[in-house]
């Protein structure tokens, strides 16, 4: 008997939320309210939820004024990375005064933990992470290996 009462109580909670959410959905549908805080499905991709500013997302490699990459291939990011997903191949930069530049710079975003350590570690401010663009999806696993080309174009 007690079990039955508890089950009915539980059902009551479910029904409460169901009708409440349904009510807000309907309001929303007719553009009558955009109140936050209720469990309302965001209609992605037509509608996008705002991300918090502290969220770290897609990586970017920045360039200098003359178009060269800021990155000097120092491997500090690769050293700091807890997921060990940054692979760099360095080469000589014949133009003075920089001596070193990346020939290959790959971040495996499939392995990345989005911790932001790489950005913190970079002495050249060459690597940054996006804030409001959550779209990091690919159809193939290999496409999640972001190379210089992908990291500099966005």
């Amino acid at each position: 008997m007690r079990l039955f009462i508890e089950a009915v109580k539980g059902l009551g909670v479910t029904m409460k939320h169901f009708f409440l959410n349904m009510f807000y959905h309907i309001l929303r549908f007719f553009h009558l309210s955009h109140k936050k805080g209720e469990t309302v499905t965001t209609q992605y991709p037509e509608e996008k939820r705002e991300t918090f500013t502290r969220v770290r997302l897609r990586h970017r490699l920045l360039s200098r004024d003359d178009g060269r990459l800021r990155c000097v291939a120092c491997y500090m990011c690769a050293t700091a990375c807890p997921a060990q997903c940054i692979y760099i191949e360095a080469e000589e930069d014949p133009r003075n005064p920089l001596e070193k530049k990346p020939k290959q710079f790959i971040i495996n975003l499939g392995r990345c933990a989005y911790c932001g350590f790489c950005v913190e570690a970079c002495p050249e401010d060459a690597l940054r992470m996006d804030v409001h663009v959550p779209e990091i999806s690919e159809y193939k696993k290999e496409d999640l290996l972001y190379d210089i080309d992908k990291l500099t174009h966005w």
């Binding site: 000097v72 120092c74 050293t79 191949e89 360095a90 000589e92 005064p97 920089l98």
Partner: protein, 483 residues
């Protein structure tokens, strides 16, 4: 040495015994007390220009450089007082006023004396507000060296090395004070056979190695003690590897010497340092039949064809003591003939290089294996082609790297190179030296010991490859040979 007087001195409260006249820095190091230094190197005559190694001696008013002061009976020395620490910090601060501090792109970072001492003794912000002196950062000194004048601290180790060790004297100090730099004397380039050692003895990143330049950061490298295979001296080396990068097929990044006063002291020659490429490139990764890839099953079939025939094993002077002993055992059981093959003699010199370009000819000699030509029906050849193979009808090869004429072999079994297995070689002095496994064998390659076991098992012989057992057997032979 032995007729010098034994004396007692006290360093940091620890009483140590040493020979009279030993430099304090050396006596302390032998007793396990490390005194910081930049210009002093055990192998070179002391120069005393960096002032890092100062110590206090009771009874003397001022600190003295321990790399220039010989120990005397009863000296009481302190190496760690606050005044000395302050002194070191000031020395570092002075050096850093002209230093570019480009550690992020400096290959030395991680094994740089200046960096290490800075963390140990200085660790404060620079008070230097002037512009830093600009100096050339990319001077090519020779086939493999790049000099960065901005990073150079003018410790003159490089100059002294070329004076005292190679005697070639290509370098000197030019200009004075803040403008001084190390330069080549007119018309010189550093092309001597020991130039790579300059990179090792330079305490900072002023001399970098073109071969290693920008290839990796040093803290990514695994270090495995090994022995250099390129001549009979058997210099003690370290193999630095990194197999973690899925986008690079390079596994070995550099070879560094290991100190062994009886064999190679602190050095290795450039041939030994830069010839590691064969470990990663042009390897035979699969069994081959007449130049084409084949399976281990057909290798087995081919081996079965030699049953009951006359066989000659051409074992090589690159095989380890244990492998040679093991293969001798196999040969004895089947009553096969044995001969030795190896690399032809080359040039030697007075420093390290020997004309015998094989690491283990001595080991083969101890086991009584000689170079001879045979005319048996079957030849099993290891690593090197004997003078003539024509008289043998069936040819089985056990090779590490691809070579001209591979298609003449009925079967080639892929073998592991020295860095991919453990074992020992006997150098020209009769010293048995161990090398350790730094890498997994490439592709389907196996060590010569495992190949021996494979062959023995195929032929129905139950003789297991146990490295420890054959090491013992080799040592028995060695004792007999030594008398």
């Amino acid at each position: 040495m032995s007729n010098r007087k034994r004396i007692k001195i006290t360093i940091d409260g620890k009483e140590i015994e040493t020979y009279e006249g030993t430099l304090i820095i050396k006596a302390a190091e032998d007793a396990g007390i490390y005194i910081p230094r930049l210009c002093y190197h055990e192998a070179l005559k002391p120069d005393g220009n960096c002032r890092m190694c100062f110590v206090e001696i009771e009874g003397l008013r001022k600190p003295v450089p321990s790399c220039l002061t010989p120990a005397k009976e009863g000296m009481v020395i302190r190496t760690d007082t606050d005044a000395l620490k302050k002194h070191r910090s000031s020395i570092l601060e002075m050096i850093l006023t002209t230093h570019p501090m480009d550690c992020p792109i400096c290959d030395q970072a991680g094994e740089c004396a200046l960096q290490d001492y800075y963390f140990q003794y200085d660790l404060k912000e620079s008070r230097w507000r002037e512009k830093k002196e600009k100096k050339p950062k990319r001077v090519h000194w020779g086939k493999n060296l790049i000099y960065d004048a901005a990073r150079c601290i003018i410790c003159k180790r490089c100059v002294r090395f070329l004076d005292e060790i190679t005697g070639t004297q290509e370098l000197g100090v030019f200009e004075r004070g803040i403008h001084s730099y190390i330069g080549l004397f007119d018309g010189n380039r550093i092309e001597n056979d020991y130039s790579g050692n300059l990179v090792d003895i330079c305490p900072v990143g002023a001399i970098t190695d073109l071969d290693f330049r920008f290839k990796s950061r040093v803290w990514f490298l695994n270090r495995t003690p090994s022995i250099c295979p390129f001549c009979a001296r058997g210099c003690n080396i370290e193999i630095h590897t990194n197999t973690k990068n899925p986008f690079s097929s390079q596994r070995v990044y550099r070879i560094k010497p290991r100190k062994n006063l009886e064999v190679n002291k602190w050095w290795i020659c450039d041939e030994g340092r830069y010839s590691y490429e064969f470990i990663d490139s042009d390897r035979i990764e699969y069994p081959m039949a007449r130049g084409k890839k084949t399976s281990w099953d057909s290798v087995r079939q081919e081996i079965l064809k030699i049953v009951g025939k006359d066989v000659r094993l051409y074992v090589s002077a690159w095989m380890s003591n244990e492998e040679l002993t093991y293969w001798m055992q196999i040969a004895k059981t089947f009553d096969w003939k044995l001969s030795l093959v190896g690399k032809p003699r080359g040039k030697g010199d007075e420093i390290l290089k020997l004309p015998d370009k094989n690491p283990n000819r001595k080991g083969a000699e101890i086991l009584g294996i000689r170079e001879e030509i045979g005319h048996e029906e079957v030849a099993v050849v290891f690593h090197f082609l004997p003078v003539s193979l024509e008289r043998h009808k069936i040819k089985i090869g056990i090779f590490t790297n691809k070579f001209e004429g591979m298609d003449k072999f009925d079967i080639i079994i892929p073998a592991a190179v020295f860095a991919e297995k453990e074992g020992s070689w006997t150098n020209f002095q009769g010293k048995v030296q161990n090398f350790q496994k730094a890498l997994e064998p490439i592709g389907e390659a196996k060590s010569e010991g495992e190949i021996g076991e494979f062959l023995a098992n195929t032929l129905g012989l139950d003789l297991q490859w146990e490295i420890g057992k054959y090491r013992e057997e080799f040592e028995k032979e060695l004792r007999k040979w030594n008398g």
